[in-house]
Symmetry: D2
Subunit: 204 residues, 4 copies
């Protein structure tokens, strides 16, 4: 039984205390990780727009930039969950801002030349009124992978409604069943893979 | 009142006589074009996999290639409709094969150096059980635009169901209302733009 | 000879006075529009991060939001140029923020039910060290089209270098020839189409 | 030292014996896997268009379909490499056809409900004259991940040239250095991860 840390970065456009479907789905992934019996996963959820994160591609943009604090949490985590709403069929601008900040990790390596993100697992939680989950996961998978994250089998959970409809995920009385199942699978696979990589890191 | 020709290329994976949601939606776009009062649009629907179209990026791949016949229809048309199913959140392989064949048009120009596709309007019809319409339209828009097509305002009609559900578009007793409305808008905008471009071509 | 207005929204991550390749390419599109002989195009370039634009999907997010001022310029323009850098093979977070703000236009219609963006032409200018221009244009085309913009034939100009290289566009002594030619074509096609749509708007 | 099997599916549009840059890069990945000191990797390269693979989303489309034979190789492999050219900034139609055939694996599960692809590692090799590698990898990563593959850190190697240039990868006298390095990293990471997952499969 491995002790693992998870960090959920929620990339909603709306600061607290507004209700948010991506906060809800991100929290459900965190809960599913915490409920696993084979692993001891603790974690934290950060709503990015509640912090002063600057646009940029460095680890610290100065000028009151609060990314460095979030980055510390990311570096301490074994599992990173990017939870994002869909806008116009695409990942949110806030998720892009987060991925651009992670781009700085390409230049941050350990003594053996590995990126500090190597060995960390990345998964995605996507939610929108309608349409865009697969593409959003494609964009986030590719960007996370470019900066060193490993993507477990079935690395995304999502919900969207029928074409051009308007009900939000958080308006459901009960979590849609298939999304709930998928969330559990994502959590189980992410933790399994993170435990393996923690015990046996990538070659230098 | 301008006379216009439309060609619908349906990119389902299944040959006739199998039922196909993308044939249905493609036909609905063609019907909506024919029903316009401001323009006289005649047209035709081609189900690409019923023909021996070869993989490639030339206008004629030889070896019994049936693309040249389809290409003649495309060159005669003012409006091209690419109707495609979604698989894995993405446009079908058949639609990609069609777009790759259109890539040959980059080298086919008129006496004044314009591509033969210049002045033609391209629109998209997308259908799947769930998720992927926006991204599919993005892929097709970009590829059509690269080879000279103009994309009218609101250049896509689509239907998808809720996340991970299995009902097909063609199983509906009635066309979902928002899709039906959108189909009409796409037709009206495509014909309006095609008539303008037919009367006033792009500069050489 | 039609009088037309163009607005270039540059979506670099870096505020002034930092040098920016996307400012340069955006300015080149504006210059090419201004140099056209068939049309009288005046225009303006806005570097979005120099303004306090808020995340959101409404026309005015309050709290000092400077989008409303930019939106006024957009509504007055016939041609919108989105100029964006590539990060991780994808459009910048700032361009996504801009597109999300444009999403509000779906609810803003004239007396006849048309979006206020109908009749406007949208084009894209993309620049990066390497790889990502086609995809970036696909994302921006689809989002602009969803909110009512028309995309002219060959609606994008771009530059990228060889895989994994590091020279910036602005470091070139001379504008790469193919990019320079493409920029002229984009300008000519955008103005031609904008003039047509200004004279004959889409049906209600 | 784990014995591992790799399968490279090359998705060029051109049948043998035409020269192909994606065959070359796919072979280089295979060679890099074979040269690893920590693992004993044997493998095979299949040029998909040399076989009669049918469009479809089942494991066997009948009618002389040669996918079942390729599928056997895929099921026997621990590492799947999808090597594809870029056309129009996007993955090839042949790669889409392959991914659609893999979509059938969603319904193929072992006694404990796991897909037969679970535990296999998927990586990507992409090559084009210019632009499109990141997006191509995004599309392929997402599709492979949807059907059960795990993506190792830095799971793609690629080469593209400067914008709008025409030299092919296979025309280089020497392999571009950064691509060569990246190919080695992809191979090392893929084998490391495949060995871990072979020894410790995902939970049921």
């Amino acid at each position: 039984m491995t002790s693992l840390k998870a960090l959920v970065l929620v990339c909603t456009l709306k600061p607290s205390p507004a209700e948010s479907s991506s906060v809800l789905l991100g929290q459900q992934v965190l809960d599913a990780l915490g409920a696993l019996e084979d692993h001891d996963v603790s974690g934290e959820l950060v709503r990015v727009v509640d912090h002063q994160v600057r646009f940029g591609v460095s680890t610290d943009e100065g000028d009151g930039d609060e990314w460095p604090g979030i980055r510390e949490k990311m570096l301490a985590a074994d599992i990173l969950v990017v939870a994002t709403p869909i806008w116009m069929g695409q990942p949110s601008s806030v998720s892009k801002m987060v991925l651009e900040r992670l781009d700085a990790e390409l230049s941050e390596t350990d003594d053996e030349g590995r990126m500090l993100t190597y060995g960390k697992v990345g998964v995605v939680a996507v939610v929108g009124n309608e349409d865009g989950a697969h593409h959003t996961s494609a964009e986030v998978f590719q960007a996370l992978n470019d900066v060193g994250f490993t993507i477990p089998a079935a690395g995304v959970t999502y919900w969207v409604g029928e074409a051009m409809q308007g009900t939000d995920y958080l308006e459901h009385d009960e979590t849609p069943e298939k999304t709930a199942e998928t969330t559990k699978t994502v959590a189980a696979n992410a933790a399994h893979l993170a435990a393996l990589l923690k015990a046996a890191e990538y070659p230098a």
